[in-house]
């Protein structure tokens, strides 16, 4: 936070920054800690659908730069509200024509209302350390007041019981980070489910148009699925892709496994990491509001964006509608067979896969993006193949290596009897598919995997237990504090010792001087002379008393 110190002089604020009160001078929401939620294509598309042709737009809270730039470029009039002064300043410098309000949400209440208010980051970062944090419903009330009649609100709400929370080894909100001066989790008005969210929006005078569940992770949501879509029996080809978070975080469980269960149990809405609600304020006169057709779902897959339709998916922009391939995900078929130690099924499936690849199957496919309906393989939204198609043998090797890495990383049971490394397991699997591959092929396969840009090897360390971690962290903190304490005491001690030595020396010097002084003639004479006078004084006192 100190880094911004040289820029906090608010007298030098750009003209388009308005300090409304509660601004945080030494704070940034853009980096570290929570950071900015990494909204990409799906959010941009959703906002594109609800942006009014002509009207005021307000962005509340931190949003990724690309999203802000896009909204500012497309809206006829836009403003932003941020609590951090350095962030506001940076944004104002990037967009000199944009009004940037800096401060607490509640203090913006007297502004003219907006056609569209976007708060994808939610309400938790609209308060500031300068004042006690408002309850969620109060903040929502303040936000809803900014929406003009007939206008729209797009609000993100983190689910405290989101599936991503189940697997976190370090539950955020309990690690006492710098942004936790007002601890989260004790506000009774914070929505405890989709129903409570609806009620909250209704009581703020808004009517919910559509509510989306965002997956796979609240920090990097890649897909938005409407409540209606989650009501259907979604094909596995679709839900499997939603489950894999790209995590560099410490986890206690395989997020894939847990999220698969969430979809299987049809709890996608309740356990979504994040909800995005699109709500409208009823217009004053009837029929005045602009009707907007909202998508059923938006799914990002790498760079591509697909819209979910009642009968399939459609690539945006302007792609053809295609049905989602049916069948089960190959990785899951293999994992199941491994769990059953059913090597026959594995052998058969891998041989079929090898044959399919020989016949010109998708080169960029992988076990986690292929479905098998019992007869045929089909690739789900495959990434673009490399310019020079590699040999089918290398393609197979890559698919199997990737599977091996993921199998071992997830700690699934498998039938191979000795402890294996992924490389050795891959060569075994290739053998089971009827191919003899060598380490040279493996290198090519690894290169191909890197080229396709979806690394199999995640940075995640071996899973650790929450308690173990927190105990270790606590000890580390105590050790740091103890070391700091020792260092401080050492400094103090040496300072005092020096002082003591100095004082002792001074004392010795003084004593020596006093002794020397007592030996001088003058002193001795004055003592001699003083004695008779003292005696005389005593006699006088006796006589007079």
């Amino acid at each position: 936070m100190e880094a911004g110190a040289h820029r906090v002089n608010t007298n030098e604020a750009p003209d388009n920054v308005r300090l409304i009160g509660g601004e945080m001078l030494l704070w940034s929401d853009m980096s570290g800690l929570g950071g900015v939620v990494d909204w990409r294509g799906a959010a941009l598309e959703l906002l594109g659908r609800v942006l009014p042709d002509d009207g005021r737009v307000l962005l509340v809270g931190p949003h990724p730069q690309a999203l802000v730039d896009d909204v500012v470029a497309r809206a006829s009039s836009a403003a932003v509200l941020l609590r951090s002064y350095p962030d506001a300043r940076a944004l104002a410098e990037r967009h000199p024509g944009l009004t940037v309000h800096c401060g607490r949400l509640e203090l913006l209440a007297d502004e003219e209302p907006y056609e569209l208010v976007v708060a994808l980051d939610g309400l938790l970062r609209t308060h500031s350390a300068e004042a006690p944090a408002a309850a969620w419903d109060e903040a929502l009330g303040a936000l809803a007041d900014l929406v003009a009649p007939g206008g729209r609100l797009v609000l993100g709400v983190h689910n405290d019981l989101g599936v991503d929370r189940f697997v976190e080894a370090r539950p955020t909100g309990r690690e006492c980070a710098d942004d936790q001066w007002a601890p989260h989790g004790f506000d009774p008005s914070y929505p405890g489910g989709p129903g409570a969210l609806d009620v909250g929006l209704e009581s703020a005078g808004l009517s919910v148009q559509r509510c989306y569940a965002a997956f796979p992770d609240r920090r990097a949501p890649r897909s938005l699925l409407s409540r209606e879509a989650l009501g259907f029996d979604l094909p596995e080809a679709l839900t499997f892709a939603l489950s894999a978070g790209d995590g560099d975080r410490m986890l206690v469980a395989d997020p894939l496994r847990v999220t698969r269960l969430v979809f299987r149990h049809r709890l996608g809405e309740e356990l979504a990491p994040l909800w995005v609600a699109v709500a409208t304020r009823p217009p004053r006169a009837t029929g005045a509001s602009r009707t907007v057709e909202l998508p059923l779902g938006l799914i990002e897959d790498g760079q591509a964006l697909y819209e979910l339709t009642p009968s399939g998916t459609r690539r945006l922009p302007g792609g053809e509608e295609r049905p989602v391939p049916a069948g089960r995900v190959v990785e899951e078929l293999l994992v199941e067979a491994c769990a059953r130690e059913d090597v026959r099924t594995i052998r058969e499936l891998l041989s079929e896969l090898a044959a399919w690849l020989e016949e010109g199957g998708e080169v960029s496919a992988a076990a986690d993006s292929l479905v098998h309906d019992g007869e045929r393989f089909a690739a789900v939204n495959p990434p673009a193949a490399p310019a020079t198609p590699p040999e089918p043998r290398v393609v197979l090797c890559r698919i199997l290596w990737r599977f091996a890495v993921r199998l071992l990383a997830a700690g699934h049971h498998h039938p191979w009897p000795w402890p294996l490394e992924a490389d050795q397991l891959t060569l075994t699997l290739c053998g089971m598919a009827g191919h003899t591959c060598d380490p040279g092929d493996l290198d090519l396969a690894r290169k191909l995997d890197a080229e396709l840009g979806r690394p199999a090897e995640l940075a995640a360390d071996a899973p650790a237990y929450r308690d173990l971690l927190s105990a270790r962290d606590r000890l580390a903190d105590q050790l740091t504090a103890a070391l700091a304490r020792i260092a401080r005491l050492e400094t103090k001690l040496s300072y005092r010792e020096r002082e003591l030595v100095r004082a002792k020396a001074k004392l010795r010097r003084t004593q020596r001087k006093a002794t020397a002084y007592r030996r001088t003639l003058g002193y001795r004479l004055s003592r001699r002379l003083a004695r008779p006078r003292k005696v005389a004084r005593r006699v006088m006192r006796l006589l007079s008393g």
């Binding site: 936070m1 100190e2 110190a5 040289h6 906090v8 002089n9 608010t10 007298n11 300090l19 009160g21 945080m24 001078l25 030494l26 704070w27 350390a129 300068e130 004042a131 006690p132 006492c176 710098d178 942004d179 936790q180 001066w181 007002a182 105590q478 740091t480 504090a481 103890a482 700091a484 304490r485 260092a487 401080r488």
Partner: protein, 277 residues
């Protein structure tokens, strides 16, 4: 722990509040906020506040702000001033309060402020109607030119003394002297918001903030400058300020709600040996 814990007789006041001897205050295991502040209770370069020791701060906004800046271990006890008021409900109370006590913003041992005292004195004379007492920090009091600037305009010039230390008894009566003076005056004024002003407001003085706010030669930007004080407390600036409102703000800034019990303080300060198994 730190020298600043013993400045202005703070540790002595708290010792007495805890029922201990005032003459030899014990070491406080932690860091006591020693003056009103609108950062996190301590100067920006607070590296001397070792982690692991509590920071005894006055109000909750300092805790929140400090937390957001990576500081931890805040413990709210309010200002030592409120403990003095608790101990001395009657000290210096006078029915006939009159005049203004004026605290020009002061530098300290390592920083001096730059500003024109003569011009400030003229401004004070133009605004104040009753008798004026100028209270200078000992550094400025030691400068005859500054004393002269105020004295020559007929103001009474005083000083509450040195801020003292644990070993020297010099600063022990600083706050007591200040309390007596504040209870004797009807009004307290300064060119900057500061501890003295809130102390005054808390004992019923009218408040005023006006005049050149005088800059430190090397003022830290973390505070956000005079502009920020004006934005945070617009209602406290001016020659006439609503007294009720000022008292309310003072209660908040001095942390009256956070007054701790003697036993709690004894334990928090490490003044009570804790027997461990």
């Amino acid at each position: 722990m730190d020298e600043s814990n013993h400045w202005y007789g703070h540790s002595r006041i708290l010792s007495r509040y805890c029922g201990l001897s005032e003459d030899t205050p014990n070491r406080i295991q932690g860091f006591l906020q020693h003056g009103w502040n609108y950062l996190h209770g301590f100067p920006p370069n607070d590296h001397w506040c070792s982690p692991g020791y509590p920071r005894f701060v006055w109000s909750d906004v300092l805790r929140r702000r400090g937390w957001s800046m990576g500081r931890r271990g805040h413990y709210l006890i309010g200002a030592p001033w409120i403990y003095l008021l608790d101990l001395e409900p009657e000290l210096g109370v006078r029915p006939d309060r009159e005049g203004t006590i004026w605290y020009p913003f002061h530098g300290w041992e390592k920083y001096s402020v730059s500003g024109d005292h003569a011009r400030l004195a003229d401004e004070i004379r133009n605004v104040e109607t009753g008798p004026v007492t100028i209270c200078l920090y000992w550094l400025e009091y030691a400068n005859p030119d500054i004393r002269q600037a105020y004295g020559s305009r007929g103001f009474r010039v005083i000083c509450h003394g040195d801020r003292g230390s644990r070993w020297e008894a010099k600063g022990r009566d600083f706050l007591r002297k200040q309390l007596i003076e504040l209870r004797g005056h009807r009004r307290v004024a300064s060119n900057r918001l500061g501890s003295a002003l809130f102390y005054g407001a808390s004992v019923g003085c009218e408040v005023a903030v006006y005049g050149d706010p005088m800059q430190y030669e090397d003022e830290r930007p973390e505070y956000g400058g005079t502009a920020r004080r004006l934005r945070l407390w617009p209602e406290l600036h001016g020659t006439e300020v609503d007294r009720e409102l000022a008292a309310e703000v003072a209660r908040r800034e001095l942390g009256f709600e956070y007054q701790a019990t003697p036993e709690e303080l004894r334990r928090m300060f490490g003044w009570k040996r804790v027997r461990t198994a």
